[in-house]
Symmetry: C2
Subunit: 407 residues, 2 copies
């Protein structure tokens, strides 16, 4: 018997008629003899409404209590789906996080799942019940309600799939899969049939916001097959699975573009031990996350140091950098650029194929696009370019790496 964990996001449960569609979809698989655990997000927009209610109550709402408040969103959709399923004559039971046995650590607002005590769910499945779990929430060892952070319902689904040894964890969403690049930028983007966890992680981090990053990490760790697919049609979506041999024959799986960063460069920094710490510690203290860090050695004991932060943090990061530059006597001081894009190519194939970087740089050069910064990982190469060239760069790279859809 096949056990499916099916997660539906906020737009799939936006109102009663959408939730009714979810019910019909679930029932179809149930009727085929499959066992089903459904994991739901809150209705689209509800979590934001609850957060603004909380911030109306207090500028910085207490995190434990905010979790109690936010948990109502998923509680609502889970109860409603169970009501609909039962009214259609099916056996169904809603479970809140604590009822589903989802034990987390004690960090409110972004708790991590420690363990799932799956007995109750197993018993319900033996009774052929459709289980409807409120996503995004758990409980900690003190009996407090916790939430898992933005997109946490994905993680709930993956964790449950792992605990119940489900055959597949299906992530139903408003797109029909993971694409080789953003179809809004490149009309020749193709849906990817199969992608490795590693590639998906790089894609997710870089802006293809289909899956919560942590849920992919979790799926990778416990080897849970993910199926990202549309809640509006029956087409196969994208399978996110363990790396297989044939995956490496595709050199580049996808091209991504992140417009949400800004660059700061400190020039003529003295090339001494401890200098990096002097620069990045004050940023960390202000909870500014730094993405790329690139350092070039110059002649004469000096170095240029560039890094990128999100646009939100840019102003603050720039202020801090100015102070630091003064302290460490960086001459020429600062150059900063807000209108940049980070274009990346991602693929397991890079591990075994040489020449990917060369192809990337040549492609950008052919379009007269200047590269400001480069950083690489084992399966990714990222270039910072001027924002205005972003779309052109994505399309050119998409073609250059043979990703274009054949008409």
């Amino acid at each position: 018997m096949t056990l499916r964990v099916q997660k539906f996001g906020g737009t799939s449960v936006a109102d009663i008629s959408h939730i009714r569609n979810v019910a019909e979809r679930v029932i179809e698989d149930y009727k085929n003899g499959d066992n089903i655990v459904v994991v739901l997000s809150a209705m689209a927009g509800v979590t934001d409404k609850l957060i603004s209610l909380a911030t109306e109550a207090a500028k910085t709402p207490d995190k434990r209590e905010l979790d109690v408040l936010l948990a109502t969103g998923e509680q609502t959709t889970a109860a409603i789906l169970a009501i609909i399923l039962k009214s259609m004559g099916y056996k169904a039971t809603s479970l809140l996080g604590f009822q589903a046995g989802i034990l987390t650590d004690t960090s409110s607002g972004k708790a991590r799942i420690i363990d799932i005590e799956a007995k109750r769910m197993e018993k319900l499945l033996q009774d052929r019940q459709i289980i409807v779990v409120a996503g995004f929430q758990g409980h900690n060892i003190n009996g407090d309600i916790t939430t898992l952070g933005r997109g946490g319902s994905d993680t709930t689904a993956v964790a449950i799939a792992s605990a119940l040894k489900a055959d597949v964890c299906e992530i139903f969403t408003d797109v029909d899969g993971v694409y080789t690049t953003d179809p809004r930028i490149c009309s020749k983007a193709q849906k990817i049939a199969r992608i490795s966890y590693e590639e998906m992680l790089e894609m997710a981090i870089l802006g293809a916001k289909v899956l919560q990053i942590r849920s992919v990490e979790f799926a990778k760790k416990y080897n849970v097959p993910l199926h990202v697919r549309s809640s509006f049609d029956k087409e196969e979506g994208t399978m996110v699975i363990n790396e297989t041999d044939d995956m490496e024959s595709v050199v580049v799986a996808g091209v991504t573009c992140d417009m949400n960063e800004a660059r700061i460069t400190l020039k003529h920094v003295p090339d001494q031990p401890g200098i990096s710490a002097k620069i990045f510690t004050p940023l960390a203290e202000e909870k500014i996350t730094v993405d790329m860090i690139v350092q070039n050695t110059r002649v004469g004991g000096e170095t240029d140091l560039s890094f990128t932060v999100t646009k939100n943090d840019f102003k603050k990061a720039l202020e801090i950098s100015k102070k630091v530059a003064k302290d460490i006597e960086a001459r020429g001081v600062l150059s900063a650029e807000e209108e940049i894009a980070k274009v990346s190519v991602i693929g397991l194939g890079m591990k075994s194929h040489s020449g990917v970087a060369a192809t990337m740089f040549q492609t950008l050069a052919d379009e007269n696009i200047n590269i400001r910064l480069i950083s690489t990982s084992e399966i990714r190469i990222s270039c910072i370019i001027k924002a205005k060239y972003a779309e052109l760069a994505v399309r050119s790279l998409h073609t250059a790496f043979g990703l274009d859809k054949k008409d």
Copy 2:
């Protein structure tokens, strides 16, 4: 150290600014050194909204799941009050029904509290925490969420006061206490300083909807002193307590009026054993609650039988009665009247004072008001009259029993 359980209803927590008022009120007592457990209802109107959402999902929503849905209302207000209290610098913790240890039976939608496991609350109080409990909800032995029925937050408050041996259970509401009669009908109505549980029960049943009936029964059973008072000012309200000797010196505590009933009379019913069952069993099968039942013996083995039902049930009850009348060969059959009022006088003093009934009947007679039905309990006399005389009757009785406020 004084321990207060303070319950605030839906209008007292209608929005953030109202909840902020609740916080200030709670803090004032806390600062005086009192320990405080707050019990909250959902924001005014929210429970109704959730019910209509559920009935949009299914005509007859599953009761277990409806409880999961409804419980979000009180969860929301409890979290928000805790957020506000903490942001003001006070130690506070919200507890949902299951976290407060409120164990109920397994009947969804109108569960009864079986036990309160108060350890967590006791520990929090030892830490001088302000505890904010989501009212109206508990959990059953299966780990399911249950709700206590309309006005259930009153019962939550009383049950917690009993479990923690609180000094007082304060019911904050939008009226400033219990009145001798409805002030909208009689401008000379007075606030009652002290009233017995028994009298309050009769008042509550008859329409002075200040307290949920079950909460008063609970308070009576466990001898919990109730203080019904306004959430908008500091005035003392009404203490609902055990009967004391001096209470009986007041013959009548209040006059009530219920316009929500209708009367059905079956005339010339054969006066035989089993006849009543034939009439009332079919009504019970249709879940129609009958309030007053009055039977008069006639000459010649026949009897007239009258009863009242709520106006909602009137049409259905009339249909059923017509069928039954045919079956049991009641001659002259039916007379029915929808425009009636039930006027009652209530008082512990009736137990020891004679003449209350006589005064009541004479007062109505003096106003030329005809009495259609009479029923009595140990501490109550009720008369059914034509609806149009209701206000006149209430005012006359209020004066006759010396309840008028002195200007």
